[in-house]
Each structure stands twice: as structure tokens, then as C-alpha cells.
């Protein structure tokens, strides 16, 4: 919130918007809202922006005289209008959400395997649990299988993500709940990022391989060439542009040749 103050002075109008908004979810979000002069509810966006422009114009001209009553009426009218737009937007949003919800449910139904196959799967996994444990990752698998069962028994339709890769009685498939896998992967990624940052992040005083290799050759009586001549990072933007251009050009060529 400390950061907000100077920006608020730059765009004075949005101060009221900030109050409406209440506590912004995060600093970034608040900043975003302020820069656009647009509170996250999105309701009072347009009138505020207009006001801003109006202010700019007024700066050039002499101030217009207004009676207190008319100004009050105007303000009230403005307030009413804003309230109405908020209400309208809310209802619209609600409608939209409802429609999306319906769509999701329908999609889920379409995606879900037929009941017979699901039943077959659950029985198969139960028998595999009863069997003596085999070698590899069996514990893991069992746990996941059980989780799958629970999920499918209690709330088949509501199950968030459940994917079965292959179906069959033999061991050629592996039932995995993708939700767990995602969580695990993200934790692993975070751990990898941590170690990478510790060892090679900023402040670790790393040199480049080229400089390292050149240290030896600098002290040798016979000077050698650098190990890597090219810096691949150079002109990456230009290279990308050229690539895109070439692709477009080829597409254009193909089209013309077809004609």
C-alpha cells in the first residue's frame, strides 16, 4: 500500500474508486486497477475515464459557474447511474457464470466413460489391491487407485480431474489421478528452481564457460582460439523476425502458386 500514494496523486480521480474497491487482493492488482483508472469491479470505469478527459479540457478554459442545487442533482444522478451499471453488470456476470457452469457439466458428461467401463475398472483395481504386491511402484499405484475409487464412488459427476489412460485387464495401463501428479510436479519444479537459484542465481559469482576456458589459454605460450565463437543470444529478436517473415513469405508463395 505504500506504493500507492504517489500514483494516487497522479490520477486523483481514482481515489474514490480505491475506497469502493475495499482491500485489493494484491499489490499488483491494485496497481493495475489504478493505472487504468479502473477498479477491479469494473463498474465505474467509463464515467471515471470521461471525467479525467473532461478535467484536461477544463484546464484550458475558465471554470464554469454552477449552482449548488444543480451540482447536487448532477452528483446524485451520477451516483444513481453508477449504482445501476454495477447492478446490471452483476446480473450479467451471474448469467454468464450460470451458462458456463451448465456447459461444463455437459462437457463432463460427454467426456466421462460409459458406466460399464468405470465399474469394470473399479473392480479390476480392487482385485489388484488384494493381490500380493509386485515390485515396482506398487504402493504408489495402490494408493492412487484407492483414491480413484473413493472419488468415483462418492461423487462421480463432481470429480474434478480424473483421467484413465488406457482400459484393460492386463497391466498395460496405469491409473493416475492427474490432480495429484500436478501437485507433485509443481513441488518438484519449485525445488529444482530453488536449487538452481542457490547455485546459479544472482549473487553467486558465476563466470561463463568461455571466460573460464580463456583463462588457461591466456597464460599459455601458444594462444588458442576461444572455445565458442558464437554468442547465440545475439540478435535473437532479429532472427525471430526473420523466421516469422520467412514463414509468412512461404505461405504467401504457396497460396499464389495454388492459384
Amino acid at each position: 500500500m505504500v506504493q500507492l500514494r504517489p500514483r494516487a496523486s497522479r490520477a486523483p480521480v481514482s481515489a474514490s474508486a480505491m475506497v469502493d474497491e475495499g482491500q485489493p487482493a494484491s499489490e499488483e492488482e491494485a496497481e493495475h486497477g489504478l493505472l487504468l483508472g479502473q477498479p477491479s469491479s469494473g463498474a465505474a470505469a467509463e464515467p471515471l475515464e470521461e471525467d479525467e478527459e473532461g478535467d484536461d479540457e477544463l484546464d484550458d478554459e475558465a471554470p464554469e459557474e454552477l449552482t449548488f442545487a444543480s451540482a447536487q442533482a448532477e452528483a446524485k444522478e451520477e451516483e444513481r447511474r453508477v449504482r445501476e451499471t454495477v447492478r446490471r453488470d452483476k446480473t450479467l456476470l451471474k448469467e454468464k457464470r450460470k451458462r458456463r457452469e451448465e456447459l461444463f457439466i455437459e462437457q463432463k458428461k460427454r467426456k466421462l466413460l460409459p458406466d460399464t467401463i468405470l465399474e469394470k475398472l473399479t473392480t479390476a483395481s480392487q482385485t489388484s489391491v488384494k493381490k500380493s504386491p509386485a515390485k515396482l511402484k506398487e504402493v504408489n499405484l495402490q494408493k492412487k487407485n484407492e483414491e480413484c475409487e473413493k472419488g468415483s464412488d462418492s461423487k462421480k459427476a463432481k470429480e474434478k480431474v480424473q483421467k484413465v489412460q488406457t482400459v484393460g485387464q492386463n497391466k498395460s495401463y496405469l491409473a493416475v489421478r492427474l490432480k495429484d501428479q500436478d501437485l507433485r510436479d509443481s513441488r518438484q519444479e519449485a525445488a529444482k528452481a530453488f536449487i538452481q537459484n542457490c547455485l546459479y542465481g544472482p549473487g553467486t559469482n558465476r563466470t561463463t564457460v568461455n571466460k573460464f576456458l580463456s583463462l588457461d589459454s591466456k597464460r599459455l605460450p601458444v594462444k588458442k582460439a576461444a572455445a565458442q565463437f558464437l554468442n547465440n543470444a545475439w540478435g535473437s529478436q532479429k532472427k525471430q523476425n526473420a523466421k516469422r517473415f520467412r514463414r509468412r513469405w512461404m505461405v504467401r508463395k504457396m497460396k499464389t502458386s495454388k492459384k
Binding site: K137, K143, F194, T208, V209, Q228
Partner: protein
């Protein structure tokens, strides 16, 4: 020794992956090494530092901790949150068990070997009971705020020290509660650095805890009071690893600058009982981060991002100053990564996740001995075959005719048929592999490419007949009852009648392929076999062992040959026995039956059996005789071992035809150029 045209191949772009952990087992004198790609290798230190076993890596299995427990059982844990136990007999993973604490950073086995401790990302320390065939979760210790990066047991097993970020906790094992929290200073040379990461801790029996951290400090703490006793600032960069000797009189630390420091407990003054930890020796054998160190009774072992495994024997611990006291640096795997189709002049290179097929270049120029000939046709990169799935390739092979490629991962076996049409190449996968062909430790094609021999990890050997685009399972040689040892090396005779297979310790078995039965077993030798080959015509089996002994065994006669007996009686040259890389490949000259061609990483040798053997007084590494020297003098200095050290590091060498050799080299500079960046160091005068 004849003259050869040599294809000097330097386009095998192989980069070994960096070493992450090492664990030394005192009981069996073996060293387990895990690499950043998840590969785990076992080195036998008593068998001339030979890499006798390996477990292929897996993309999602980044190993962060490795330890031996309960004698000979090996466990690893990694960032996927699983604890894995390896089956050292069958060479596969026994089981993987989720610890349910997020990524695992550290692991330690209790001093009596019955319990296993893991430190997780979520700050929990979990205790597992080691049962005879599994591990069982026992309980959690008090949860800490941040990840546990290092763990160490008190030798009595009553307390543990856990290194985290900015602090070290000491736990009481019985109650599972933290009794001390020792804050580590973040300050680094007066400048407040980033968070201080405790990369390693070691608990001594007198209650001292030694910690190494990312600020470059080695600190001694009193665990009873939780106070700092002593501080050594040893590096400008992270100190990443620590290992302590069993006697607790010396320890070793490794830094990110590539330096390894040896600390010793020495008396303050001569003949006083008061002792003090003193930094005694620095070693600079690495160029990059030293991620792992180990302390064997006689040597310091270190490994790191620069992919070298360095074994530095301690001079004061070595009684006899022989070649065992020399520094060992192991960079390349002790197995073959290259296979060759001689007739089509193709080379197949094996990488962790793909295979590359190259056609050798050719020249029309001729020149004198020692000339470099210009290429008229460059080498061709024909094929880049990526594996499916996250598993690393265990082994691969191309058939001598060049029309079959087979490779295997830990769970699947793949066979491809190649068709050549002028410059085009057509790859076709042979589908429907039988269920028993799931993973192979070694694959070999017969000389006429009609048979495929597969050594599976259950110890059985499968013989498969290859037809045009399909195959037929002929026979399976079952292992002898009672043994579960898997075969790692195969050799087939050029006439296709004999198949020799060797495991890691028991002798070499010779099978008759025509009659499909076991023919004989070569008596077991103390040292593991590193290479095998069967000579054409005579059917002599040549076996190289890790102590550089070479035996020749006649398969039809079922006995050692006369030449082999002679050389055993006289003994090999002492310089030959001191070579430190194992012989990885043996081949024969088709026209000269008295020659045996073999190579290790630093030399190529032709043994001429018709010439007299060298004794210890003669020069072993003779330079090539100048051409103008008279024949008589040459004859006088000649002995059976013709050694060339021109090509190194040599990963593969074979005879293409009578006058052509192919040598695959991998210069170390090319490897360094592809490693992660090292720490910046100021060198005077640069």
C-alpha cells in the same frame, strides 16, 4: 604391426552428467555414485576402481541423497519425493516409496543401520524402520519451518543434527523434539549476503556438530549448549559437502570453487593431549562445484558438476608406496557407448535419451605414414532416434550389416529395421515384442546379423532369430538355479556357434548356440570381467579383467591356451598392470590370427602373440621405430605389446577392415565447454 588408415572420429558429442552424491560402503569397499540424470553407479574400489554395476537414470528421478544402510543395502531419495531401494543382484529397482513430505533433500542411515531418516521440502524429518524386505514409516520429528537440506546422526544414535536454511536443529531421537536451534550467521565478509544454506552437517561422538554453508564457512558447534565454538572461513563461494572419517580424526569438505579441503585433528603442541581441528591440505582436482565428498579409510573421494570422480589416497594412510597410492580420476563410463556396423561403415552412438547413427566419411587421397588425409566426403548424420518416455537408455547395438538397431530402457525393449535406398533411410519399428523382452542389460547381434542375443536382468539369455521385418524366439538360457546374478557382457564367435556371457562376479559361461546348451564355464577369477571377445577360426575366448590381466581360453579344448599359460607364468609388465582404466573392447584382425587388438581410455594396443613377451626391464611403451632404423635393431627391441597413445580419451576403437581402423575420441575440453558455468576466480596476470 601393420599400418592402418584411421578414421579419427570426434563428433560423438557425449557429455557425462554431473555427480550429485557419493556414498562409501566400508564393509564391501564399494562406492555408490549418483548423477544428476538419476543414474546410480557402483564402483568396486578393491577391484581397481571398476564400475561394476549401474542403474539407468530417469528424467523425473533427480537423486539428491544416497546412502548405504544395514550392510549392503543401497537407498536413494530425490526431488520426486520417493525413497528408492536398489536390488544390487538383479540390477533393478526393488521398490519406490513415497515419503509424503514433498521433495526429499537429505537422507541418513542410523549408525546401527536399522533406521533411515529423510529430510523433506516441507520441513519434516521422517524416520523409517528398515525391515528385511522393505522400509516402514515410523514417525515424524518436530516439523521445521523450512526445508531440511542435510542430516547427520550422532554415532550413538541418540541425537540428530538437521541443517536447514539459516539454522541447524538438533533433535532428540527418542522424543522427536528439537532441543536446540543454532542460528547461522548470514554475514559474509561483513556484507549481508542472501540466505545462508546449510549444505552439510556432521555429528561427532563428543557432541560437536560441524556445519558447512553457502557463505563459505566451516563451523564447529557444541550441541549440548547450542553455541558456536569455532569458525573457519575457507572459500568465497559455497561449501557444498562434508564427509567425516570413521575414526573422527579427519574430515573433508568440498567447495563450489572446485577445491577440496582436508581437516585433521592434530595435537596443539607435540606430545600434548589437547587436540585441535586444523585445515591441513587443499586439493584442486576439480574445475567446477564439488557437490559430494566421501571419506574412505585411506582416501578422499570427491565428485561434482565437472563429472569427474576423483579418488585421492592419503599418503599417511598408505603403507606401501605403490601405484595404489596414485590419484585416480574417473570420467568416462566403463562400458561401451558406441557400436559399429563394419560393412556399411556406420557408427551408433548411445546418449542418455537418444541414439545417433553416423556414416563415416571417406577419402580418395593417399599419403605417407603419419599424414592427415583430407576428406572427400564428410561424415553423415543419418539418424537421430529419440526414446519415448522418461527412462534412460541402458544399452544399444547395431547389427554388423547395419540393418538392425536394438536398444533397451529399464522397462521396454525396442528393435528397429533399417532400409537403405541410395541416400534415403527408412526406419521401421518391429512391433509386438514378446513379454519376456522387457529390459536388457546387454544386446548383441551375431556376425551374420541373423541372430539377436539379449541378456535380460533376470539372469536369463534370450536367443532370437531375425527374419526380414519380423523375429522368432529360439531359446532362453536360464541362469543356473540359485543364482540371480545378471549378465552384463556378451560375446559371440564369428561363425555363430559359441556365445560367451559374463556377470559381475561369477565366471564366464560359454554356450553352444547350435545345440542350445551350456558348453563350459571358465573358472571364476577374483576380479570382474571388463571385456570379452571370441577370436575367428580358433574360437579362443579372450577375457580382460579389471586388474588388467588378459586370459585366452580355448573353447573347443575347454582349457587355457599355451600362450595364456606362458604369460601367466611370466607375468605382465609392471607398467601394464598399473594402468588405471579398464580395457573396454577387444577385437581381432581377420587375416592375422596372432594379433589381439584391445584398448582402454588412454591407449590402444595390439598384442602380437608370436613375439616374445616383455619383462620388467624392457621398455613397454616403445615409440614407433623410425623407418630408417635397421631391421635388426627393431627386431631386438620388439616385444608382443605394441601400444599407441596417440588417441585419447578413447571411447571406442575397432577394425573396420584389414587396413582401416576407427577411433572415437572425446576431448575433455569439448565436455567442459558444455558444462554449467563455474565460479569466477581472479587469476593473477589475466
Amino acid at each position: 604391426m601393420g599400418e592402418f588408415k584411421v578414421h579419427r572420429v570426434r563428433f560423438f558429442n557425449y557429455v557425462p552428467s554431473g555427480i550429485r552424491c557419493v556414498a562409501y560402503n566400508n564393509q564391501s569397499n564399494r562406492l555408490a555414485v549418483s548423477r544428476t540424470d538419476g543414474t546410480v553407479e557402483i564402483y568396486n574400489l578393491s577391484a581397481n576402481y571398476f564400475q561394476e554395476k549401474f542403474f539407468p537414470g530417469h528424467e523425473s528421478r533427480a537423486t539428491e541423497a544416497l546412502c548405504w544402510a544395514n550392510g549392503q543395502r543401497l537407498f536413494s531419495a530425490g526431488l520426486n519425493g520417493e525413497i528408492i531401494e536398489y536390488d544390487l543382484q538383479a540390477l533393478n529397482i526393488k521398490y519406490a516409496m513415497d515419503a509424503f513430505g514433498g521433495p526429499i533433500w537429505s537422507m541418513a542411515a542410523s549408525p546401527n543401520g536399522s533406521q533411515l531418516l529423510v529430510g523433506c521440502e516441507d520441513g519434516s524429518v521422517k524416520l523409517f524402520q528398515i525391515t528385511p524386505d522393505k522400509i516402514q514409516f515410523e514417525r515424524n520429528f518436530d516439523r521445521q519451518k523450512s526445508r531440511i537440506l542435510s542430516l547427520s546422526w550422532h554415532p550413538a544414535g541418540t541425537h540428530i543434527a538437521a541443517g536447514s536454511i539459516d539454522y541447524i536443529s538438533v533433535f532428540d531421537v527418542k522424543s522427536g523434539s528439537a532441543i536446540h536451534k543454532m542460528l547461522v550467521d548470514r554475514q559474509y565478509m561483513g556484507v549481508s549476503k542472501r540466505k545462508c544454506i546449510i549444505w552439510g552437517v556432521a555429528f561427532l561422538s563428543d557432541g560437536t556438530v560441524i556445519s558447512v554453508d553457502s557463505a563459505g564457512k566451516v563451523q564447529f558447534w557444541d550441541s549440548a549448549t547450542g553455541t558456536l565454538v569455532k569458525n573457519h572461513l575457507i572459500a568465497n563461494a559455497d561449501v557444498q559437502s562434508i564427509a567425516i572419517s570413521d575414526q573422527e580424526d579427519s574430515f573433508v569438505v568440498g567447495t563450489a570453487e572446485g577445491t577440496v579441503f582436508h581437516f585433521q585433528l592434530v595435537s596443539v603442541t607435540s606430545n600434548s593431549s589437547e587436540k585441535q581441528w586444523v585445515r591441513t591440505k587443499p586439493f584442486q582436482h576439480h574445475t567446477h562445484d564439488v557437490r559430494a565428498v566421501a571419506h574412505s579409510p585411506i582416501a578422499l573421494i570427491s565428485g561434482g558438476t565437472d563429472t569427474h570422480l576423483v579418488i585421492r589416497p592419503l599418503m599417511e594412510k598408505v603403507e606401501v608406496k605403490n601405484y595404489d597410492a596414485a590419484l585416480r580420476k574417473i570420467t568416462f563410463p566403463h562400458r561401451r557407448l558406441v557400436s559399429c556396423a563394419k560393412k556399411k561403415q556406420l557408427l551408433l552412438f548411445q546418449f542418455a535419451h537418444h541414439l545417433e547413427l553416423w556414416r563415416l566419411g571417406s577419402t580418395v587421397a593417399t599419403g605417407k605414414n603419419g599424414d592427415t588425409l583430407p576428406l572427400s566426403k564428410n561424415a553423415d548424420h543419418l539418424l537421430h532416434l529419440k526414446t519415448k518416455g522418461p527412462e534412460n537408455i541402458i544399452c544399444s547395438c547395431i547389427s554388423p550389416c547395419g540393418s538392425w538397431i536394438a536398444y533397451s530402457t529399464a522397462s521396454r525393449f525396442f528393435l528397429y529395421r533399417l532400409n537403405y535406398e541410395h541416400d534415403n533411410i527408412n526406419l521401421q519399428r518391429v512391433s509386438k515384442m514378446p513379454a519376456f523382452l522387457r529390459s536388457a542389460l546387454q544386446i548383441l547381434f551375431s556376425e551374420d546379423s541373423t541372430k539377436l542375443f539379449v541378456a535380460s536382468n533376470q539372469g536369463s539369455l534370450h536367443v532370437i532369430r531375425l527374419l526380414e521385418g519380423s523375429f522368432k524366439h529360439l531359446h532362453t538360457f536360464q541362469p543356473q538355479s540359485g543364482t540371480v546374478e545378471s549378465m552384463c557382457l556378451l560375446a559371440v564367435s564369428p561363425d555363430g556357434n559359441w556365445l560367451a556371457a559374463s556377470g559381475t562376479s561369477a565366471g564366464v559361461h560359454v554356450y553352444n548356440v547350435k545345440q542350445l546348451k551350456l558348453h563350459c564355464t571358465v573358472p571364476a577369477y577374483n576380479f570382474p570381467v571388463t571385456a570379452l571377445a571370441i577370436a575367428p577360426n580358433t574360437n579362443n575366448l579372450v577375457i580382460a579383467h579389471s586388474d588388467q590381466q588378459v586370459f585366452e581360453y580355448s573353447i573347443p579344448d575347454k582349457q587355457y591356451t599355451q600362450w595364456s599359460r606362458t604369460i601367466q607364468k611370466q607375468g605382465f609388465h609392471h607398467l601394464w598392470l598399473q594402468r588405471d582404466t579398464p580395457i573396454t573392447h577387444i577385437s581381432f584382425h581377420p587375416k592375422r590370427p596372432v594379433h589381439i587388438l584391445l584398448h582402454d581410455a588412454y591407449m590402444f594396443c595390439i598384442i602380437d602373440k608370436s613375439l616374445p613377451l616383455p619383462n620388467d626391464k624392457t621398455l613397454l611403451y616403445n615409440p614407433l621405430p623410425p623407418t630408417n632404423e635397421s631391421d635388426i635393431i627393431r627386431r631386438r627391441t620388439a616385444h608382443a605389446f605394441k601400444i599407441s597413445k596417440k588417441y585419447k580419451p578413447l571411447l571406442f576403437m575397432d577394425l573396420l577392415d584389414e587396413r582401416t581402423l576407427v577411433a572415437v575420441e572425446r576431448p575433455l575440453d569439448d565436455i567442459i565447454a558444455q558444462l554449467p558455468p563455474p565460479i569466477k576466480k581472479k587469476k593473477f596476470g589475466t
